[in-house]
């Protein structure tokens, strides 16, 4: 029989060991479990298909017949289904995490917003927003051209050992590494964890 103080000691040691699990391992493993849940209940995780589905749905409401005129929307469907609900869930889940962290009950991992400057884009906020806008445009255009993004091709594709996933990951990272070296100054500061 263990005494009460011993049990308390064990439980506090267990809690300490959970907290000492590094953030990347905790949240990375949770994303892996979400992936298994998604594959058990519907399909592997995917994000970027939902963008044209949702945008197509909204534009079709605003101008009826839009979805029928566009070949792409005929193929993927301008509909609110599992994919769009998943994407809305990602936004709401992040909103919840943000709200909790502002209340102080769950602190996200530390680290500055952006410790890097891009040549030609430093200084004024409007130039930084322009850079973010251009980047945002390209990630969606590129993801649709490749028929998947970081989630669909890498998290899900590589987890299914798909050759398309390995190819997408290799090319996207190679381009990203090269672009970062050419466009950015070296970032200040080390690891965020």
């Amino acid at each position: 029989m263990k005494t009460v103080p011993q049990i308390q000691e064990i439980s506090s040691a267990m809690r300490a060991s959970w907290v000492s699990v590094p953030g990347w391992l905790r949240w990375g493993a949770l994303i892996g479990l979400v992936q298994i849940f998604a594959m058990l209940t519907y399909a592997p995780l995917g994000i970027s298909t939902a963008y044209p589905q949702l945008v197509g749905y909204i534009l079709d409401r605003l101008s009826p017949g839009f979805a029928q005129q566009q070949l792409y929307l005929q193929e993927i469907g301008a509909k609110i289904g599992w994919e769009v609900m998943e994407v809305l869930g990602v936004f709401l889940g992040a909103l919840l995490a943000h709200w909790l962290s502002r209340r102080g009950s769950a602190n996200p991992m530390a680290g500055g917003a952006s410790a890097v400057c891009i040549r030609g884009f430093e200084g004024s906020p409007s130039r930084r927003w322009l850079r973010a806008f251009a980047g945002g445009f390209l990630i969606l255009f590129g993801a649709r051209l490749a028929n998947g993004c970081t989630t669909g091709h890498m998290l899900s594709g590589i987890a299914q050992m798909a050759v398309s996933g390995f190819l997408f990951g290799a090319v996207a990272f190679a381009t990203g590494l090269l672009a970062a070296r050419l466009l950015f100054r070296e970032p200040i500061g080390g690891a965020t964890s």
Partner: protein
């Protein structure tokens, strides 16, 4: 439970985890692409290893329980799309999933990138008829996976791949530790000289 609710629940936990892992800030990607911080890579690789091992094991134990959805290998679309995507990721510091997390976190760059993402979506819808013949129909090899390509059993390939990816995570952690020790030692040397 209906499909829509399952999607919402899946997304809620996914978005929460992405925020807590730090993906609401574009700096995590910028430092990652400069190879100064491996958090981005370690989170992704951990998620892939758990998903890979879990789905392969469940599929072997309960055939039919796992819904696989392998994307086809349309060579030119994937190469061109991934290159455009990589440039965009470097510029914005977000991908289509984390841009939502950045915007939800109130980051102005995240909101600007989300507006860009929606604009890029509309542009793609209009451009698709022109792009389809070259990027989707030529050199499309269908749903190719490592087991189908090599003819080896999926469980064996999955175990080897999971071990390799876990090995990479371990290597990245070791590099980070070495760097941290180096920084501490440099500081000690500096303070010794200054004193």
């Amino acid at each position: 439970m209906s499909e829509k609710w399952l999607g919402l629940i899946t997304g809620l936990v996914f978005g929460y985890a992405l925020y807590r892992a730090g993906f609401f800030q574009c700096g995590i990607v910028h430092r990652g692409l400069w190879l100064r911080d491996f958090t981005m890579l370690k989170v992704m690789l951990t998620a892939i290893v758990v998903g890979l091992v879990g789905s392969t094991a469940l599929d072997a134990l309960m055939p039919g329980a796992i819904h696989f959805k392998v994307k086809s290998l349309h060579l030119w679309g994937i190469i061109a799309g991934a290159a455009v995507f990589g440039l965009g990721m470097a510029l914005a510091g977000y991908c289509p999933g984390t841009v939502l997390v950045g915007a939800a976190g109130g980051r102005k760059e995240g909101i600007a990138a989300l507006v860009g993402a929606l604009t890029g979506t509309v542009a793609f819808i209009y451009a698709y008829p022109l792009l389809k013949p070259v990027f989707f129909e030529v050199a499309n090899f269908g749903k190719v996976t490592l087991p189908s390509l090599t003819g080896l059993p999926a469980v064996a390939v999955a175990l080897v791949l999971a071990a390799v990816l876990a090995g990479v995570v371990g290597m990245l952690s070791r590099i980070e530790r070495t760097r941290a020790n180096q920084t501490t030692r440099d500081k000690e040397v500096h303070s010794a000289i200054n004193n």
